[in-house]
């Protein structure tokens, strides 16, 4: 299987037959070979990858993701694509960014990329976050790679005229990412860490209750920790607040074909099965099961 740009998208070979294409059909999800602009460590765990891409990809929305065809690192052969949340998109510069942690064969492959290298990305995929224009304040709670997923919310919320409080959790302070990005967009960031023993659910619940009490929480947005998700579900139920959660699951196709990425959801007491890649990755907070 060659890691090549799917040429048919760029150059439809209409002249040589193969089907009637009456209406001018347009792809909204594309797999394209993009150019790496930057691929650098931001701390001991995370790397920041920026690529030049086409307009479909650069139109990605917060909470959506891409499937990356990772290069093969020495001696390993990742076969499937790897899902990565949109970390940032710039429709004008035609760029998208990812923030990833090196964990296995695929991400080790990503780590080998240098500026100028090419990478096959496919997207934008899935259903992202929704921002209600009526919301004045939202609270974003993230941990681990969840911080990457929540990151593009900062900008979108400001564009929506919505104030953000971000509660970010990490093992150690130096592993926190996107803090400045949120601050730059005018968000308040509250960092909690294992090292400082501030990241326990009890403390996070205290923080969230204060936000609610101060009228700074019209909705929850969360990603990356089921423990913290449960805290928010409890509070959302108690205070009648809406919420959205971005879920993860192992993926093969990323576009709803294979049903390997399903999770159970509780929809009004009934357990239903949904594809994280297609029905999500962002779901209603109250329906999510850990």
């Amino acid at each position: 299987m060659s890691i090549q740009r799917d040429q048919s998208l760029a150059t439809p070979v209409a002249a040589i037959g193969g089907g009637s294409s009456p209406a001018p059909w347009k792809a909204t999800i594309v797999a394209e070979l993009v150019e790496v602009v930057r691929n650098e460590a931001v701390n001991a765990e995370y790397r920041h990858l920026v690529v030049n891409c086409g307009k479909e990809a650069a139109a990605a929305q917060p909470g959506q993701f891409f499937q990356l065809l990772c290069p093969q690192p020495a001696g390993e052969q990742p076969f499937l694509r790897r899902p990565m949340s949109l970390y940032g998109a710039d429709p004008d510069k035609r760029q998208v960014a990812f923030l990833y942690k090196v964990t296995g064969a695929g991400t080790r492959g990503l780590d080998t990329l240098k500026p100028g290298d090419r990478l096959d990305i496919m997207g934008p995929l899935g259903v992202g976050f929704t921002l209600d224009p009526a919301w004045r304040h939202i609270v974003a709670v993230g941990r681990g790679a969840g911080l990457a997923t929540l990151a593009p919310l900062a900008r979108a919320a400001r564009a929506n005229g919505t104030q953000v409080t971000a509660v970010f959790s990490a093992r150690r302070p130096e592993l926190l990412v996107s803090v400045e990005l949120f601050q730059r967009h005018g968000a308040d960031v509250i960092a909690v860490t294992d090292a400082e023993q501030t990241s326990g659910p009890a403390n996070v619940e205290r923080i969230l209750r204060r936000q609610i009490a101060e009228g700074r929480c019209d909705a929850f947005f969360t990603c990356g920790s089921s423990r913290l998700m449960r805290v928010q579900q409890r509070l959302a139920r108690e205070f009648g607040l809406p919420g959205q959660v971005a879920m993860e699951q192992q993926m093969a196709c990323g576009i709803g074909l294979c049903y390997c990425c399903v999770r159970d959801f509780n929809v009004n007491g009934e357990i239903v099965n949904r594809r994280v890649c297609w029905d999500g990755p962002v779901f209603d907070l109250m329906e999510a099961l850990p």
Binding site: G17, A31, Y259, W278
Partner: protein, 320 residues
């Protein structure tokens, strides 16, 4: 000889004429692909296998990757036939592409009644996925044995007038014999083949990588094996053989057609390159143009076997 731009890509499968020989493999296709490719360019649609009742599918993890391939044990999660007719079918009505429905059931009778129920306008052919276990015969998949294949195909044949494709399993010692049984019982085509039963163990936990313990291998790794089965089947039957296994490029499709396939199904490749099918269609046209082959159908069974190459029958098995 052909002038540029006039390659005839059409092929005939039983009673159907397809605009080109490229279609999805069951279970690797859904409406979502509409955002990636023009559905009016495909040779056919083939649905995920559906069952009569609602089914949950297998426990997770449902897939694990290996070099050159994917092992899956999705199971057959299905919303049932009513949901299919009411909700899924309408999605495809807008397109000028034949809709093939893949079905499965644990008994021959179950297959027949499902086929009957689906013999309605809007459905162009039935693909019977008989790689599922036959509960009347000790849990072996129907397609593992010629007798059970013949029986289920005969029941299906009685139940529907639609073109009937029977999808075989590669997990048997004699696929051509099974193909002959399907033909004898009235199949219009055989699809060769489903996934190859496989396993992977996680070296951290010592547990199987799949919730179902075993699963089916697909992707480039299986291509040489299934290509051989297509070759054997095409010699054994006169009905069309549809090749399916590891096809990722136009060259793979050509190799299958030379071996005897009248059309090809693309599965796992779509997971890596979502527009793989249209790329293959374009590539087939380009190949024929380059090699001055006026009709893609001319490739079918085109492999050149020279007399001197006939295998020494006494030692045919690979043994080596």
């Amino acid at each position: 000889m052909s002038a540029a731009g006039t390659i005839d890509l059409s092929v005939r499968i039983g009673g159907l004429t397809l605009r080109n020989p490229v279609m999805p493999a069951s279970g690797t296709f859904a409406e979502g692909l509409e955002k990636v490719m023009d559905f009016n360019r495909l040779g056919a649609f083939v649905t995920k296998t559906i069952t009569r009742e609602l089914r949950a599918g297998n426990p997770l993890p449902r897939v694990v990757e290996r070099p050159g391939g994917l092992i899956n044990a999705i199971g057959i999660p299905s919303k049932g036939v009513t949901y299919f007719i009411e909700t899924t079918m309408p999605h495809y009505a807008a397109y000028d592409t034949p809709l093939v429905v893949s079905i499965s059931a644990p008994t021959a009778e179950g297959f027949a009644s499902l086929a009957a129920e689906l013999s309605i306008p809007g459905i162009a052919a039935i693909e019977a996925n008989i790689s599922c276990p036959n509960i009347e015969e000790d849990g072996k998949a129907f397609a593992m044995r010629a007798e059970s294949t013949e029986k289920v195909t005969r029941e299906l044949r009685r139940a529907t007038k639609l073109p009937l494709w029977v999808k075989l399993t590669p997990n048997t010692g004699d696929v051509p014999e099974v193909a002959r049984a399907a033909e004898a019982a009235g199949a219009d085509a055989v699809v060769v083949a489903n996934t190859i039963l496989s396993m992977a163990i996680d070296l951290k936990s010592f547990k199987p990588c799949l919730g179902n313990i075993m699963g089916g291998l697909s992707g480039p790794a299986i291509k040489p094996i299934v290509l051989r089965q297509v070759f054997q089947c095409a010699k054994a039957v006169t009905i069309p053989v549809i090749g399916c296994g590891g096809i990722a490029t136009a060259e793979d499709a050509v190799e299958y057609m030379l071996a005897g396939a009248s059309a090809v199904q693309v599965g796992t490749a779509t997971f890596l390159q979502p527009a793989a099918m249209t790329t293959i269609i374009d590539g087939l046209a380009a190949f024929c143009l380059r090699r001055e082959i006026p009709r893609v159908a001319d490739l079918i069974r085109g492999v050149v076997i020279e007399e001197a190459d006939e295998p020494d029958l006494a030692w045919l098995d690979p043994v080596s």
